[in-house]
């Protein structure tokens, strides 16, 4: 089955991202395809490459990166909503340049894109599973 995932909550504050990660890992292990994971609301914070949890805790950002979810063109399908990201200070190199900001924090396993990618995921997938409150 082709599955997409939407994550609406940030890391560590809320279990949504952890549960979604476990779900995605289990789905892949069962032979399902994760078409796209879309990070929205505070969920965009799951993509920060500056995340440094204590050593005895899980690293949620690296967990997501380890799933290596990519499309046929080799682009990451861990997608961060651009509007939600920018207003929360999450920028990739391109957005930092456009907005004149001297730094960027999106982990390379993720990419920034628009909300259309969420709708497209709903259209293309057999299931779109939402994690949040």
């Amino acid at each position: 089955m082709k599955i997409s995932i939407q994550i609406n909550e940030g890391p560590y504050q809320h279990q949504a991202s952890d549960t979604a990660y476990q779900f995605a890992k289990a789905a892949i292990a069962k032979g399902h395809e994760i078409f796209r994971v879309f990070f929205y609301h505070d969920g965009v914070d799951n993509a920060s490459r500056f995340t440094v949890p204590p050593q005895d805790d899980r690293n949620i950002v690296n967990n997501w990166a380890s799933l290596d979810i990519k499309n046929a063109d080799g682009e990451p399908e861990l997608v961060v909503c651009v509007a939600a990201a920018l207003r929360r200070g999450m920028l990739d190199e391109g957005e930092a340049g456009k907005n004149g900001i001297d730094g960027n924090n999106i982990h390379p396993a993720f990419r920034i894109s628009g909300l259309g990618q969420l709708i497209e995921a709903g259209i293309q997938s057999d299931r779109l599973v939402v994690f949040g409150d």
Partner: protein, 134 residues
């Protein structure tokens, strides 16, 4: 590709958290995809449709006017939980009079909001292909 039924389920008050505003941003983008779109409002989400919102005092953007524009994008199915309204002492008269123009009926203006009991809302939800919850 076949058209899918998308429902956007809104359960939170318009201010206090950003869920309602960012839900509306998704709906506006969704309008461009020619899918069968409906919106549902339950729990505190019914407050999103209350008429006469004023946000000057809290320094937030009043986005309630945007709901009026959705009819022009063929988004005209607003299902509101009857129980959620009643629990909050509200009725349909407290909500914005959202309308759309029916081109198959000489562009007659028709109400977009339909108040439905939760039992019917459950049934409508079960008919959806995709339900996005905010």
């Amino acid at each position: 590709m076949a058209i899918k039924k998308f429902m956007y389920l809104n359960r939170r008050a318009p201010y206090g958290t950003v869920y309602a505003l960012e839900s509306l941003e998704v709906v506006l983008i969704a309008a461009a995809f020619d899918q069968d779109v409906s919106l549902a409002f339950m729990d505190d989400g019914v407050y999103q449709l209350v008429e006469g919102q004023k946000t000057d005092g809290i320094g937030m953007k009043n986005f309630s006017k945007t709901f009026h524009a959705l009819g022009d994008y063929d988004i005209n199915q607003f299902f509101v939980s009857a129980e959620s309204l009643e629990e909050r002492g509200l009725s349909v008269d407290d909500l914005m009079p959202l309308v759309w123009e029916d081109e198959d009926d000489d562009w007659a203006e028709k109400p977009s909001i339909k108040v439905v009991p939760n039992a019917e809302l459950t049934k409508i939800m079960s008919e959806q292909d995709v339900c996005l919850s905010f």
